[in-house]
Symmetry: C2
Subunit: 480 residues, 2 copies
């Protein structure tokens, strides 16, 4: 973080409207979120971004534990024979894995895959420890990194290695496992809305888009500033395919051997990309207050006048008790500091100068709408948390309004294709359930199915593509 | 964790005196710390062990942050050319690395090492971001896993992959970097003593034993129950070797280009092995209270008598406010539960039955010495934390007394060789500083230098081995 008293200027970033992709990479560099390593697609995640991830972890981990989950750690390496046990799974992942072939100076007898996801490892472990219905459910989670050999990469959105959590659970019945799948999707959705101020669409993926090895994949889809979708979390109902493949059996309540039912679910550092692209603006990051590493920065004005720095320090000590606060007492100019913390997306800036001190007040400036609010120094402890809540609500409302404004309902093919071509955003349209139509929509309109939302609307009786009877309303869009 | 109401019996473990190695592996399995994966040397770290690691992380991470350090995340992979930049470093690590040679279905142009440690990655990043003395110090840390291709492995002590933290810092001056090296070693030592109840010897490693690429390596060495040493944390002063190799230069206060000075430091999941081998006994684990996932387990006695379970639940809710508490209301017998939580090393057991309730009291049993303490139900909130502190102190005292009793001072070669042969433990002896003597001691007495303790004693004027003038007193021992 640039608290070094240096003289560098905050350089402007490319405006969003001019080049959204460049705007994004400008932000990740200039807000000091990442640095590029010489290894393609691998990043140095810098303190500011990692602090955001730690805050995400803290909130989610507590939620997982509240709902009975326990953390574990599984190995980084998966022997090839283990990965191959579940056929759909290996077919899905084989093209994008990294292989270790040598260790300790010798060629290995069996090559090892660097985990792209850990279903197979959890299954091997479960096959050792699950024997009776009394051992169920097993509700495990791990925080780790995984590797997927992507051809093109973008910071946070798609990288060779990324940080995530992966939950893996086993249950006695299909109903319990499906309930868990929904529970975890809801935890993710609530987290996005209540903590990241980011509205999401909850739904089920189509057959074509589901996870390799899953019976059903549910997802939350968020709309970025440019109208593209970002799949922000997934929760899979895996059925008993893996438990058969790994021969995980338990003695049931009726004393017969049974295969348990399974789920897995995860969110990744993609969420940081989502935060950037949902809330950011042409001045830089805009961080939702509940996840911001610094919620308020104190900028002393006329810092060298007697009493100013003392008062600023006094406020720091006071406010640190309830908020994540930082004081910038470096010799950079206030103007430089204003720009710097706007770039960093700090939700509130507190300005305090000699006249403020005389009048026992300060000026609080909101990052999201630049509103200036005079606050009495006696009321900071009550007013600041309320203002932070207002910022959260405003960010959520703005994002939701944009998402609504950029979501179109289409009921005829020409309108669909034209909207897909002219209007960035989501299109709601009916679908027959046939993969051929899904593929035609990809080819002719350039859109993929985001998900089949749980909240269905009946837009028409027929498939947007083939005119046959419709089964579902689907969200279509371009995706990161 | 065995809270499943199952009927399994707590099986006895091999007594320590009979076979210490088997005692150890019995504990790691029966206390449900790990499960073996089909991949040699890689473990499934189970919830109970991972919860210990999370508690270790929580305390240390707070200490690191208090002392100004920030967390980051560096890539898992190191391109071979990057690893080779510092000569001593690559020579030290080359024999024990794992190589990724294929990714995304193709052979890679350059093979990638799975990080055995991340000095080279931090250096690459530092070379991008450090330009001026204003950018210093850089005080970074990361929590991750690393891979070292060990020939023989043992759970927590030596494995192909292990969890750790690695701090990497850059400083303007040698003095500052050396101060950081000492600061972090002291943080580790204080943590071991004040949190893990484990005495350690602080000192400097000999040239032969130091880290590949370091100028000086400092370590903390703990004595296990069998008298062997476990290196429990290291802090390296790296000088400016890496900063030269990676061309990290900054403009100093005098406006000339300079190379910064560097440190690195780490502790690993070995600490869990240390906890087992310092405090454990023939009934299982004995966890130091400040790190125990469960500090107190409530075991209702005559559970089905009216009011017992209600009272137990009431105590759970009350005590959870200040302690990590668990209630075992399963239908296993109290005797089974006593054995189970002894195996798990839970510091305190609280027994409550109908007669206790009548008399408004309960019985608290200490895991470490089995002492039974009657406590009034009105005084639990004050008495329990005090008892936990007593347990901590007692564990520390016992470990220190054992370490003192098993540490021998030798001043003649025959006595040294005989003691090494007959007495497990540490031997303090003078050394001339010559590597030849160190090697002879290894060959003839089977001991390696643990470290040159900061607290020196003058045992004699001459080297235990060659009789030449002595430079240092050294701790010698067998090590894990
Ligand atoms: Zn159709
Ligand atoms: Zn000598």
């Amino acid at each position: 973080m640039a608290q070094d008293g240096g003289k560098k200027l905050v350089e402007a970033i490319t405006p969003m409207e001019e080049d959204f992709a460049k705007w994004y990479t400008d932000i990740v560099k200039k807000a000091e979120l990442v640095d590029y390593s010489s290894m393609r697609g691998c990043l140095f995640i810098r303190p500011y971004a990692y602090a955001i991830w730690e805050n995400i972890q803290k909130v989610l981990d507590a939620k997982f534990k509240e709902t009975g989950h326990e953390n574990v750690y599984m190995p980084l390496f998966i022997p090839e024979s283990l990965l191959q046990k579940e056929k759909d799974h290996i077919e899905g992942f084989a093209p994008e894995v990294a292989w270790v072939t040598h260790g300790g100076g010798e060629k290995l007898e069996e090559r090892l895959c660097v985990r792209p996801t850990s279903e197979t490892l959890f299954c091997e472990h479960y096959s050792h420890i699950v024997h009776s219905y009394r051992d169920l459910p097993k509700l495990y989670n791990q925080w780790c990194s995984v590797v997927r050999w992507e051809k093109t990469t973008r910071p946070f959105l798609r990288s060779l290695e990324f940080l995530w959590q992966e939950g893996h659970t086993l249950h006695e019945t299909e109903a319990e496992a499906r309930e868990e799948t929904t529970r975890m999707l809801n935890i993710y959705a609530d987290f996005c809305e209540q903590v990241l101020a980011m509205p999401v669409v909850k739904g089920r993926k189509t057959e074509k888009e589901k996870f390799a090895g899953a019976v059903d994949t549910c997802s939350i889809e968020a709309m970025m500033h440019d109208g593209k979708a970002l799949q922000s979390g997934t929760s899979h109902y895996l059925g008993d395919g893996f438990t058969h493949a790994f021969d995980i059996q338990y003695t049931g309540r009726d004393n017969t051997l049974k295969y348990p039912f399974q789920t897995s679910w995860g969110v990744t550092t993609r969420l940081i990309g989502a935060i950037i692209m949902v809330h950011g603006d042409d001045s830089g990051l805009v961080l939702p207050p509940r996840i911001a590493p610094t919620q308020l920065v104190i900028v002393p004005v006329a810092m060298h006048k007697p009493g100013v720095l003392e008062k600023a320090n006094e406020l720091l000590v006071r406010l640190q008790k309830t908020l994540r606060v930082k004081l910038d007492a470096s010799d950079n100019s206030p103007g430089w500091k204003f720009a710097e913390y706007e770039m960093k997306g700090v939700p509130l800036r507190l300005e305090i100068g000699p006249r403020d001190i005389e009048q026992n007040r300060c000026v609080v400036v909101r990052r999201d709408d630049r509103q200036k609010i005079e606050v009495s120094l006696d009321e900071l402890e009550t007013r600041l948390p309320a203002i932070l809540d207002d910022v959260h609500e405003a960010l959520y409302k703005k994002a939701l309004e944009r998402q609504n404004a950029m979501t179109y309902a289409c009921t005829d093919w020409d309108g669909f294709v034209r909207t897909a071509d002219e209007k960035p955003g989501f299109i709601k349209a009916m679908w027959c359930g046939d993969q051929a139509c899904e593929e035609k929509i990809k080819t002719d309109a350039g859109l993929t199915s985001r998900n089949i939302p749980f909240e269905q609307e009946h837009l028409s009786d027929t498939c947007i593509c083939c005119g046959k009877p419709a089964k579902h309303m689907v969200y279509w869009g371009k995706a990161y």
